[in-house]
């Protein structure tokens, strides 16, 4: 069972639709008792970094998430800003992230504009896999994913990088540090590639 954390941010219907299609059990919850029992967590997030951090704090789930993920080792997948929250902070805001992975979130730099590209980066991009992961188990050839973002994460340790993509320059598209993973793209909107990744998260990720 994948428990999608509802802390008042974003559209959770699409993620739930995708898990339904895969046939994996998933639920959306903001309830502490439910999340307490969760065996896998999906942390969504869209919009401004500080808004997401503030909403997560208001939800009263911060301590519980810390306990579940860090003390108990419950696998977690952050999606979009949910992935960015795994890091220590973001240039977009002043509030601290969860800090489970060392590094920060930065804005696309001027190189992108010099190449005539617009920010936000909105569209599909091919990814390059940097290490083995259950999330990429039996992935289809030439995987591509749908991105919408103006900021991207920069992990302090390059061994935490799972996938890279290009937009003007190479940036981290997915991160994984043991049982903690995150993707900048939207797997729930990335056809069979996203479906496979979520399926792997539901069935194989530990």
């Amino acid at each position: 069972m994948v428990t999608i954390i509802d802390y008042g941010v974003g559209n959770l219907t699409s993620v739930l639709n995708m898990f339904k299609r895969i046939g994996a059990e998933a639920e959306v919850s903001s309830d502490k008792k439910t999340i307490e029992k969760a065996t896998k967590l999906l942390l969504p997030g869209v919009g401004a970094y500080d808004t997401c951090v503030a909403k997560l704090k208001q939800s009263g789930l911060m301590d519980l998430l810390q306990k579940k993920v860090i003390d108990e080792g419950t696998p977690v997948l952050g999606v979009c800003v949910g992935m960015q929250l795994l890091f220590q902070g973001s240039d977009e805001g002043s509030l601290q992230g969860l800090g489970w992975i060392e590094g920060r979130v930065v804005k696309f730099n001027d190189l992108v504009f010099e190449m005539g590209l617009k920010v936000p980066h909105m569209g599909w991009a091919d990814v390059l896999q940097k290490k083995n992961s259950q999330l990429m188990k039996e992935m289809y050839p030439d995987p591509r994913f749908y991105f919408v973002h103006s900021f991207h994460a920069q992990p302090a340790n390059s061994e935490d990088i799972l996938l890279e993509a290009d937009y003007g320059y190479t940036f981290m598209a997915a991160v994984q540090k043991n049982h903690i993973a995150g993707v900048q793209f939207h797997p729930e909107k990335s056809h069979k590639y996203g479906m496979k990744l979520l399926e792997n998260f539901a069935y194989h990720f530990k």
């Binding site: 219907t13 699409s14 617009k118 936000p120 909105m122 569209g123 599909w124 591509r144 990335s190 056809h191």
Partner: protein, 254 residues
């Protein structure tokens, strides 16, 4: 390799899927859900669904139909048609739509764009601008399926919408719609050089080379209707999309 979004636009009229020529002469194409399923199988980049009779009939978005479409769309889905207040925008987003397309309401109440951007984020707010030349040959913004012609200059209106927080602009050249005569490149250039947000070009696409031209004139993404639902020369209904290989070879810049 930089990918470029190629977006089929589906028009819903009285519950069925139609295609127009210059925003008139609607021809029935098929069932919207089935068509979305086909586009899903073809792994299209994104899809824009516009209920073109909603505003004209003063009707709200048909949420049950939209939910059904969203549950079949494993790609980003944008919905437009009859969207006129924040409550509807919230309802659409929670129905599984990624982006809400706002057209007539953006002119009548531009603050809605700001409210929407604050609530759901700019990335989910697309302002659609339908443009037609008036009797003097000047570009003007039109609404209500091109039946209402405003005095608005599309370039100034586009800039205003960017300031209000629109995340993307969907520019539809009415005179080109359904004609297969290529995009209105002058119009595209006039807008893309004045705004920094992504512009989706629509209206007139016939062949893949048209996409390339629109991108060269500053569009960030390209949309089309007829070329994805009809097969030329006899205009038989055939839902189609380019293969990844065609897009890679002919469109994406290496």
């Amino acid at each position: 390799m930089k990918r470029i979004r190629v977006i089929p636009v589906l028009l819903i009229h009285d519950g069925g899927l139609v295609k127009s020529v210059q925003f008139k002469n609607y021809r029935y194409v098929g069932d919207p859900i089935n068509t979305v399923k086909i586009f899903n199988e073809k792994e299209v980049d994104e899809i824009i669904v516009l209920d073109i009779s909603a505003t004209a009939q003063n009707r709200n978005p048909n949420l049950s139909l939209i939910k059904e479409i969203a549950s079949e769309a494993f790609m980003p889905l944008a919905y437009g048609g009859g969207v006129k207040n924040l409550e509807e925008i919230k309802a659409l987003i929670s129905s599984g739509v990624e982006k809400v397309v706002i057209n007539a309401a953006a002119i009548e109440q531009p603050y809605l764009i700001r409210e929407a951007a604050e609530y759901v984020g700019s990335q989910s707010v697309v302002v659609s601008i339908d443009v037609k030349k008036n009797v003097l040959g000047k570009y003007r913004v039109v609404t209500h399926n091109s039946r209402k012609i405003s005095n608005l200059n599309p370039v100034l209106f586009a800039k205003k919408m960017e300031e209000y927080g629109a995340g993307e602009l969907f520019i539809n050249a009415v005179d080109k719609d359904g004609t297969y005569r290529g995009y209105d490149l002058t119009l595209i250039k006039s807008i893309t050089r004045e705004v920094t947000i992504p512009v989706i070009a629509c209206g007139g696409a016939s062949v893949l080379e048209d996409f390339k031209k629109a991108i060269d004139y500053g569009a960030s993404a390209v949309a089309a209707g007829s070329m994805f639902v009809f097969q030329r020369p006899h205009q038989a209904v055939l839902i189609s999309y380019f293969s990844q290989q065609e897009l890679k070879d002919k469109l994406y810049k290496l």
